[in-house]
Amino acid sequence: MKRIALLGSALLVSAAVLSIHLVTAGGTGARSGRVAVAQTRAAPVGATVRGRVLSGLGKSPAKLELAASAPLAGSLVPVAVPSPDGVYVAYNTWRWKRDVDWYQSLSSQGIQTGDALGTPVLHVRSLGRGKDVALEPGTFSAAWRKDGALAYVRGEQPDYRANTPFLRQVVVRSAPDTAPAVWSSSPAEYHVLGWAGQALIVAQQFEGESISLLVFDGPGSARPLAQNASLVAISPDGSSALVDESPADTDAPALRLVSVTDATELARAPFSTIVDPATSTPVAWVSGPGDWLGDRVVASTSTGLVVLRVAGGRLSIEQVLHVDSATRPNGRLWEPRFADDGRTIVTWTDLPGAQAAQIVCDRFALTCTKGAAVPSANAPRPVYDESGGN
């Protein structure tokens, strides 16, 4: 019996050694490194919106009423957000009132402070029937609650006016076709980021582009979540949020895992501990929006991507990926998302000449493919919702 046990142990050890070897040789394990990027002609991966083309959510691509665009929110929030039941997609649109050459000064084009320049309007499209409904003028930045409630912001005035803060309220509809209820007690520069269960996480922007995070528990009931921080991702169960600090605000910036319930810090990963494998120096910044799948989070960094593990209230760095193009001006990787396998990361980047391309990475093989360059207005942006919890 003892001999059988010894043989069993030996077999177990051999199997373990063999599996470690296979993991390494086969590229099925996560390790940090510089990724090789190759060009591809393949169609964009995953649920994306490119201008007016929505793909990856139905059997065939759909043509939206208007191009998805959110210049007031940029990539702080998704440009299109699917409902949890898969019935709707809410998407941001923008209509300019006049042409603007943004490289020139506004005054040289006869534009004065206060002149109306454009109008954001949130649309809700039924994926099955193709019905497209425009919500109130002045609306953008949406997130769906698990029960189908839709949160977004609505401007005090419908138009963005030159050099004038676009003040807005946070509003919630219990369903897309019900009347909106105002949740904020006063207008401010809010961005709706996502639901964490029944709590709504909102960014408030201040002068100088400072951002602080708030939690709305209901109408008129807001509390701070994190000051001088932006959201990376919300945990799938909605109990916690990963936020990033800026090197401009603190001399020891970090990723912070905070409790949505009471804003306490659960764990912390200083940027100084996230070391780029190609340069052996810490990354300068880590930033959202990222993606939280299972117990892993992916976020953009100053030199590429980082994958973290969140387990047992601890935050650990699993993998740091160096992508050469991400270190160049206007080359950062935007809105990285895991594919369902947790191995593939889908992201996109701006390219010179006002163009953009999707980048799809195999994080085990340390390879990426870069899709065809398209005009920035048609950047292949992912369709997602940061919301978590029931």
């Binding site: 940029g74 100088g208 920035s376």
Partner: protein, 195 residues
Amino acid sequence: MSTRSCSVLLAALIAMFAFAGEASATTNVFFAFHRYGNTNSYLTINLQDTNSGAIIGQRGFRAGSGTSTDECALRQGWLPAGWYDLRGHFDYYNGSLIKGRVWQLSDKRCNGGSGQLRSELFIHSEETSDEGQYCPTAYDDPFCWEGDSDYYSLGCIKVAHAQPYPSDVGRLDATWDSWDGRHGYFTGYSAVFVS
């Protein structure tokens, strides 16, 4: 950027500024911000003869902007390239996060107009509303110039409030007062160029 390319840029600036003029009937004041890195860029204030286009006075300062070099990144990227209007200048600005001597810039959409709208940005330093220093902790205080890491910003252009005095922000302000002198809200037409 080499000295030669700086000269070429300056020549282009001179040519493009032929139409502008606010400081007096014959002179114009403008800023030029040359982006090299987040903490080591260069800001000049220039006095231009509007008749000839010649730069007749110039002061330069180390300056910083953003924490990344992606101009489309809200709260992170350096100031987008292009021309800006000045919206005003204040000696004792008392915002919640920006205080003291400031020049407010017009809005700008990044990447030549294809991306994020950047707004409420300033040229400023880290000082109190009365142009002093408030350094209550051993860490990074928002209204205290501790060192080079203070050149980082969320997007604004920052110049130093560091000894020996007058500091860079002090000399920049004194130059502005001497060459232009406007305070409060006004429109400085095409008064800032970012390259």
